[in-house]
Symmetry: C2
C-alpha cells in the first residue's frame, strides 16, 4: 500500500512534514510526498534519501483559513488536491494532511466519491480513556444526520474498530443525554431502533458524554454537530485545566518545585492525551481513507500519522464497509 | 427573602445539608428546612439554634434513582415536593435541593408553573473560565428547542448574568460548530436571525465549545440536548485527567513527591473547577428559581448554595425575565 502526504499543510510544513515522512519511509512505509518540488527537495537533500519515498510536484498551497468552496474552485493544483487526485486515480491507498481540515473534508468528499452504500461521510477519531482508546464519529463531516446515517456510521465505526483496536465485536453506543431509551431526540430514538435490529453492530444503547472516557463502549456514534461540540468541549477543558494548573503552580514555591519534579509524569499525561499521538481524525465513507492530523504536528507526530494511515490502508476499510452495508441491505 | 431547602436530598443528607443551612442562617439567610422533623431536629440539637432557621415537616423522601413521573405521582409529601409547594404558595422565594435532579426539574416545572412569556424552562450553570465565570444554558431541561425558545433562553441568561455577574450588557453567544453564520443547524441559523434583532440581548454570534473557557462571551445559549452533552464532556474530561495525573504521579518517586508538594496548588485548582463552589445549576423560566446542587455537596458547598440562592432570590429574576419578554413582544 502507498500513502500520499500533503507536504505543504500544517503549522510546521513543509519541513516537519517532510522529515516525518522520511522517518516513516525509512521504516518501510511507501510514501508519495506531494507539494512544492524545490521546497521539499531542499529539505530532503539535508537528509539521506530513501527508496520508499517519491515526490509529486504541486505548485499551489491552501492556507489554513481558506474557505473550502474557494479552494475547491481555484486551487486545483494545490498539494492537498493533487494528493486526493492520486487517490482517486488509484495510485495511493490513503491520504494524510495536517492542513486546512475543512478543505481536506470538502476535497475528499468531492474528489474521492462515496463508498457504495454510504450516503454521508463521517470524521472519526480515537480518544484516550482510562482503559485504552475509544472511537468517536462523526466529529463534524455531516452536521445533520437522519437515523439511517447514524446506523451507517455505526457500521463504519465497527469496521474501523475491528481493524485498529483489534476487537472482534466492538461495542457501539449512541451519544445521548441519558441512558434510558426514552431519552434523546426523536431522531436518536429512531436510530436506537435501527441499531437494535442491525446484525452487523453490537449495540449497547445510549452512552452519556462523560461515559466516553470510562470506556463503556468501543465506538461512540453521533451526528457531526454534536460530535463537534463534544470534541471541542474536551479540547477546551484540557487546555483550560492545563492553564489553571500552571497558573496555580506558579503561585507558591512548593507548587513550582512540584512542577519540576512532576515533569516526567506530566509529560506522560500529555502523551496520553495528545491528539497528535492518536494520529488525527479519519474521514470514513469515501473510497480512500483520509487522515486529517492536527496542524501543530511535528516530525514525530507526522511519522505516527503515516504509520497509522498505513495500517488503515492495509485494512481495506472502504471495501469492508461497503460489504457490510450490502449485507445489511440484503437482510431487509 | 426566604429560601426553602430540601434537607433530605443529596449523598450526605440530612446531616451535611442541615449543618450547611445552619451556617447560612447564622450569616443572615432566612431558611426553611424541609424534611423529616425528627432527623433534622436531632442534628439541630447538637448545634446551637438560629432564629433565621425554621423547620417544615415532610414525611417522604425521594431516592436518587427514582423516576420523575413516579415521584410526581406517589411522593406528594416528599421533602422536595413540599419545598416546591411552599414556593408555589409564595411562602419562599427560592428552593435549594441536592437531591434527584430529574425529579427536581419535573417537580419544579409542574408545581411552580412557567413565568409569563416563557414556553420552556432552562437549566443554567456558571462554569469557570480563565477569566471569571461564564453562564451556560440550557443544560438539559428542554431537550428539543425551536429557535424562539433559544431566543428566550438568551433573555433569561442575560437577566441572570446581569444579576449575578454584575455585567450591564452581558455578551451572548450561540453554541455552534463554527463561528461563521453559515455554520450550525437550520434551527441555529434561524435563532441567529432572531437574536440579531433582539434589542434586549447583546448578541455576539456563534461560539465554539472550546471558546466557552476563553470567555469570549458571558452567556452561552444552546438546547438542552447539546448543553447536556457539553456539560458531561467537560465533567468527563476533568475526571479522566484527574485519574490520569494521579496514575502517572504514582509511577515514579519523583511524581509521588511532586504530588505531595503540589497539594496546595492542586487544591486551589480543584476549588476553581469544583461545581459545588459554583452553586449548582439554576432552573430558570419558572416563577420561583430552583437551585439544583451536586449530590456530593457537603456543609460548605450547601452553605454557598444557600448564599447564591439568596442572591438570586433578591434579584426577582422571574419578574425581570417576564418584563423583558413582554417588552420584546410589544416591539413586534
Amino acid at each position: 500500500v502507498r500513502i500520499a502526504v500533503d507536504a505543504m499543510g500544517g503549522d510546521h510544513a513543509p519541513e516537519q512534514v517532510v522529515l516525518g515522512a522520511l522517518d516513516a519511509a525509512r521504516k518501510g512505509v511507501d510514501v508519495q510526498l506531494v507539494g512544492d518540488r524545490d521546497a521539499i527537495q531542499s529539505i530532503l537533500e539535508e537528509s539521506s534519501e530513501s527508496g520508499n519515498l517519491t515526490l509529486v510536484h504541486a505548485p499551489q498551497v491552501v492556507g489554513m483559513s481558506e474557505a473550502p468552496t474557494v479552494a475547491l474552485r481555484r486551487k486545483k493544483r494545490s498539494s492537498i488536491r493533487v494528493a486526493m487526485d492520486l487517490a482517486a486515480e488509484g495510485k495511493v491507498d490513503a491520504v494524510v494532511t495536517l492542513g486546512n481540515s475543512g478543505v481536506a473534508l470538502a476535497t475528499g468528499v468531492r474528489v474521492l466519491g462515496a463508498s457504495p452504500g454510504v450516503d454521508r461521510p463521517a470524521l472519526a477519531s480515537f480518544l484516550p480513556t482510562t482503559q485504552g482508546r475509544v472511537l468517536v464519529l462523526d466529529l463534524g463531516a455531516s452536521v445533520e444526520c437522519r437515523p439511517a446515517h447514524l446506523n451507517t456510521f455505526a457500521v463504519m465505526g465497527t469496521v474501523l474498530a475491528q481493524a485498529v483496536l483489534d476487537k472482534r465485536k466492538p461495542r457501539v453506543g449512541l451519544l445521548s443525554n441519558g441512558t434510558e431509551p426514552e431519552k434523546g431526540t426523536p431522531a436518536l430514538r429512531k436510530a436506537w431502533r435501527l441499531l437494535d435490529e442491525n446484525p452487523v453492530v453490537s449495540f449497547e444503547g445510549y452512552v452519556e458524554a462523560n461515559e466516553v472516557f470510562s470506556h463503556r463502549v468501543d465506538v461512540v456514534v453521533c451526528d457531526g454537530f454534536v460530535g463537534n461540540v463534544f470534541l471541542k468541549a474536551v479540547e477546551g477543558t484540557f487546555s483550560f485545566l492545563g492553564q489553571t494548573v500552571r497558573k496555580e503552580a506558579r503561585r507558591d514555591p512548593l507548587g513550582w518545585t512540584a512542577g519540576l519534579l512532576a515533569k516526567p509524569a506530566l509529560e506522560r499525561v500529555q502523551k496520553t492525551v495528545e491528539y497528535s499521538e492518536v494520529g488525527g481524525a479519519l474521514l470514513l465513507g469515501v473510497e480512500t481513507p483520509v487522515l486529517v492530523g492536527h496542524g501543530r504536528s511535528k516530525r514525530r507526530a507526522v511519522e505516527s500519522a503515516l504509520h497509522f494511515a498505513h495500517r488503515v490502508a492495509e485494512a481495506s476499510l472502504a471495501e469492508r464497509i461497503s460489504a457490510r452495508l450490502a449485507h445489511l441491505e440484503q437482510g431487509k
